[in-house]
């Protein structure tokens, strides 16, 4: 009983907070959410086998006996000194060629890659939505929705309330009762985005996750990102499809060979990028 009362009071507290947040949103806008300070990321890649050292068992043993590190290790300097400040209510598009360090930058902001030099400071814990982020592929879409919501800390009542909205938003219809392994990549991506965006995130990082959606989904997800911005969250979006960025973002960062080549209004950056 005491537990229940406690929970109720907590819910009430959170509701009060939420109400507060809505009122305060415009003021919150000016507050920074992500500060990236001279960030360098060097990561190691294993298994880039060279011609003369093949990865057989005998070589593996010799390597351990000689106390060498793992074989065929290559260092990739993916991000080379990036600095910027992102604010509440920003939707920032990150563009650049393949291998320019966009995804690495997102992973570093999410805290998944430790900085080699420099630092990332964030307000709260950023969430990363990636292309391959099938949540639990053996389970049905329905289970994935329920579990995803629970994992984000919702109560059963909140999940029941959000459930239909998530199914509706993802547009997967009757597929909701099939395991996610049976989904097309587009359906999986839509469902993941629907689940993750059911809750307000302070910082949401989206890595190409919207690329596979159809026109209808694109429209809906842009609407959702706009909502998040209004609720004073910050959204980062990596996409090769420039239309999506142009329509969703209020700021664009152009990455080139691990550095920021340009940072500013979408019109300016995008036109420079397309001319390039």
């Amino acid at each position: 009983m005491a537990e229940l009362t406690k929970e109720r009071s907590q819910v009430a507290l959170e509701e009060a907070k939420a109400a507060h947040a809505v009122v305060r949103a415009p003021e919150k806008r000016g507050k920074p959410t992500v500060v990236v300070d001279n960030l360098h990321i060097v990561y190691r890649v294993y298994g880039a086998a060279s011609v003369h050292e093949k990865g057989n068992a005998a070589n593996a043993l010799m390597r351990i006996l000689r106390r060498q590190g793992r074989p065929q290790m290559k260092e990739v300097h993916a991000v080379k000194g990036v600095s910027f400040v992102a604010y509440h209510g920003d939707a920032i598009g990150i563009i650049g060629r393949n291998g320019s360090g966009k995804s690495t930058l997102l992973r570093a902001i999410a805290g998944l890659l430790p900085p080699t030099k420099g630092a990332v400071y964030t307000d709260g814990q950023p969430s990363l939505l990636g292309v391959n982020a099938a949540l639990m592929k053996d389970l049905t879409g329905e289970r994935n929705i329920v579990l995803g919501c629970y994992a984000m800390g919702m109560t059963p009542a909140q999940v029941r309330e959000k459930y239909d909205e998530i199914v509706e938003f993802s547009g997967i219809d009757e597929f909701v009762n099939l395991p996610m392994s049976a989904y097309s990549s587009g359906m999986g991506a839509r469902l993941r985005f629907a689940i993750a965006s059911a809750k307000t995130h302070d910082v949401l990082l989206i890595d190409e996750a919207l690329a596979t959606g159809d026109r209808e989904f694109k429209r809906k997800s842009q609407e959702r990102i706009r909502q998040m911005r209004e609720e004073a969250g910050t959204v980062f979006l990596v996409a090769h499809n420039l239309d999506v960025i142009e329509e969703t973002c209020n700021r664009v960062i152009w990455m080139h060979k691990g550095k920021i080549k340009m940072d500013g209004d979408p019109d300016k950056v995008l036109s420079a990028y397309t001319k390039n």
């Binding site: 000016g30 990561y43 400040v85 099938a134 053996d138 629970y150 984000m152 800390g153 920021i260």
Partner: protein, 310 residues
């Protein structure tokens, strides 16, 4: 606007109407002034426990869903929950009971079938919890990367899943014990206590291997061997007291103090030998449960911010 440093310049110019770093202020100081924190910090222990409690629905639902989907591809479906332990027991009965002649040895209580199956069921519970625990973090990386939740929820859910499976095994076990002629006694009331202690131990063990397995993938190759050695050393098919008579005292003590052997002994005392577990068995069972849980939990929590990285 086209220089890498543009963000700083841009922010200093106040172009975006937001708070900006003051003249000469470093970005680090600016971030600190606004209460931004570096990377993911590990929550304090009480906070962490509270977060875990908030995720109880996740833990229970995850365990149940995994159990239900586990056999969904096979014809016999959920029946495998019962068939697998029975088949295991049948193989061991054939090998050890019949061929190696353990079934007529002293110390098995004159009912080798019940003796063996109790041992197999109890050991399997620990074995599967450990195997599941080792994969609980490493096979859920995308979930970990996409959503925030206390990572200990995963080994917890995996252990709970095994506990749910054990429900079936226990029903089979009790049926066999009754069919082979053991009476129901008041001691059976202690069965939940035995299971609780073993579950706590399993949870602790799962937490430990979950952390190791998250960073060293080789563990998944090694664990089956370690677990098989443990199986043979835990008196599942034989009576430790009877079979180790010629061995040094210290070795015998090590075998009996081993947690799996203790939990097996506890359950056999209740179901077959119709005697209250000895003080030694009680102490061993409680000690391992608390020890594994506390050490496992702390060990797992200490790496909380590192799961899913790299």
């Amino acid at each position: 606007m086209s220089q890498p440093e543009s963000a700083v310049a841009d922010a200093q110019a106040g172009g975006r109407g937001g708070a900006t770093p003051m003249k000469g202020e470093s970005l680090a100081a600016f971030a600190e002034r606004h209460g931004l924190r570096r990377s993911i910090a590990r929550p304090a222990l009480p906070v962490y426990l509270r977060q875990l409690w908030q995720r109880r629905h996740f833990i229970v639902t995850y365990a149940t869903s995994r159990n239900l989907s586990k056999y969904s591809n096979s014809v016999l479906g959920q029946l495998w929950q019962v068939i697998t332990p029975l088949l295991n027991a049948a193989v061991y009965w054939l090998m050890f009971g019949l061929i190696l002649g353990q079934k007529d040895k002293p110390g098995v209580g004159g009912n080798y079938t019940a003796f063996l199956i109790t041992g197999v069921m109890v050991f399997t519970f620990t074995q599967r919890s450990v195997l599941g625990g080792a994969k609980s973090v490493s096979s859920n990386l995308s979930l970990i990367r996409a959503l925030h939740f206390p990572r200990a929820s995963l080994p917890l859910a995996y252990t709970l899943q095994e506990l749910q499976q054990l429900g079936w095994s226990m029903a089979v076990l009790i049926a066999i014990v009754l069919v082979t002629g053991e009476p129901v006694t008041l001691l059976w009331l202690l069965i939940p206590v035995a299971l609780l202690l073993q579950t706590l131990f399993n949870l602790g063990a799962a937490l430990i291997v979950a952390r190791v397995g998250a960073f060293v993938r080789d563990v998944n190759q090694l664990l089956p061997f370690a677990l098989r050695t443990w199986l043979y050393a835990s008196g599942v098919f034989y009576s430790i007291q009877e079979q180790t008579k010629g061995l040094p005292e210290l070795l015998r003590w090590v075998l009996e103090v081993n947690p799996a052997a203790a939990y097996i002994q506890f359950m056999r005392d209740l179901l077959i030998f119709e005697q209250a577990p000895s003080a030694f068995t009680w102490i061993t069972c409680v000690f391992w449960a608390l020890c594994a849980l506390i050490v496992g939990f702390l060990y797992f929590w200490l790496a909380e911010e590192k799961y899913g990285r790299g």
